[in-house]
Symmetry: C2
Subunit: 338 residues, 2 copies
Amino acid sequence: MLATILHGPGDVRCEEVAEPKILEPTDAIIRLSASCICGSDLWPYRGANEVKDPMAMGHEYCGIVEEVGGAVRNVRPGQFVVGSFCLSDNTCPHCRFGFQSSCEQRQFMSGAQAPRARIPLADGTLVPTTDLPPDDLIPSLLATSDVLGTGWYAADAAGVTEGSTAIVVGDGAVGLLGVLAAKQMGASRIIAMSRHKSRQDLALEFGATDIVSERGDDGVKRIRELTKGVGAESVLECVGTQESMSQAINCARPGGKIGFVGVPHGVQFDGQTLFFQQKSLLGGPAPVRRFLPHLMDLVLNREINPGKVFDLELPLTDVAEGYRAMDERRAIKTLLRF
Amino acid sequence: MLATILHGPGDVRCEEVAEPKILEPTDAIIRLSASCICGSDLWPYRGANEVKDPMAMGHEYCGIVEEVGGAVRNVRPGQFVVGSFCLSDNTCPHCRFGFQSSCEQRQFMSGAQAPRARIPLADGTLVPTTDLPPDDLIPSLLATSDVLGTGWYAADAAGVTEGSTAIVVGDGAVGLLGVLAAKQMGASRIIAMSRHKSRQDLALEFGATDIVSERGDDGVKRIRELTKGVGAESVLECVGTQESMSQAINCARPGGKIGFVGVPHGVQFDGQTLFFQQKSLLGGPAPVRRFLPHLMDLVLNREINPGKVFDLELPLTDVAEGYRAMDERRAIKTLLRF
């Protein structure tokens, strides 16, 4: 079959690979209904992470179960499933504590930018729907696998509550869905930091009440003006650079919480500065599995439409263009069809 | 009057200074019932903080109001009061959010290792008792001013809840009172990390269920054994060094919370490491004022006895010996009488 392989910075190819097969009795094989490119795929694509060997790309997925290993009990062939980009057993102490992304057996999904994929730890990872969902919901269901789940975790880690003020740093797909999550959690004021018209529009559609187009110190100054000098109780950091992290910390009020989900690259914190700033930090790969059943329900009930972040749709054979478009910020997020 | 002045590393003197007087209409002058030396006083005493000019030492206090400025409404001469080491107006947005230690008008108390002291922002800072308390409760009431309030904040920031597991890193007075706080908040397991017999005994008296005398990697290994490989949901970091902070982070479970109250000296965090560890951090100078009425009630009702951390009592004229005893860890905490 064709699959997406990254050979080095800027060198992503759609090429022939072996079909996936069951390797462990806890595996499942699914036929993907769609796949997509993640903002985090751009780190190795841009050379920010080293690429030693060719990498099978793709970790967001949903589709129909084709085959299961002998130990799999919770899903069966023919079911439609969504799973998290973090594979987890959902039974270990960390999973039961709601941190499936730190599962004792954690693996990170790979190889999902392809028509078929092997899903390890299928019982813990996959969530089936009762019926096969209608086609028009596939993009939004796919979004629950990572990008929505990650934005949701950012809002959760930032402690967004009914009536609170939330600030979202980063207008990538995760940040935009962080806006959606904050809205669902009842934030009464949601300030999206974005300077791109199309992204600002989507932020507003997802529930942002204010847009701040300034960045860095100017952005912080504008946030201070908007919050009467106080800052926000919740800040979602959805980029992962030192600049965006500083911006996030400086936009939070003392005692406020920063949920950071942009994988940090070159980010350092000074302990004494953090101490006197008196702000709470929680980040990490999102425990999407914790939220997945709820998020899938919201999509299936048509209460949310996170699939709107896909503003480019390409056949798998054009995956390289999908990466380029996101790298150049011509596209927010690329959906891949087979 | 006599007061405690730090002239340089290791050079602390009891010497004659001018009596304090009202400088602002929001000030009060109190006659201290007792004072004490704080673990944080040892940072400049040890040369870890630069001492440019002679410093008036002491920020923990309780006593009788002698005089108030023209704008003071909440306390009056003759009342017994306790105040936080952080002076705050208790009306600004940060105070109302419970983070009085980030008050818009915040000042840090100084000059309280002396028989009388000026308290700025008296209305926001001081909490009076209904009656004059009995003498035997003075040490415990004094403890609420900082050392208990700080241990309490560590437990609060670490999210200690009914039935939880809490680990306390640091067996100074703050750490020991962190044990007491965790006990009051209902932790069912409290692991104190200490290798000093007298401190271990006090930790057990305050509610510790386990003592771990190992440190660093060995300490973390022992914690893993005690928690079935999981770690704790709440860790109180009460030291402030890189070693103690690493120990605290490594003892927490993924999704666990670290409340850090030891003023960090030379502590750095790597963003990506913190991300993948997936642990929550909140530190800072304790917003003691938030907790003060409750803590004073617990003392006045004789439900807690935090004054037990004072294992050395000296007249003010011997304050230098009080510093030496704490520096050499011969004393947990020194009470000063006038």
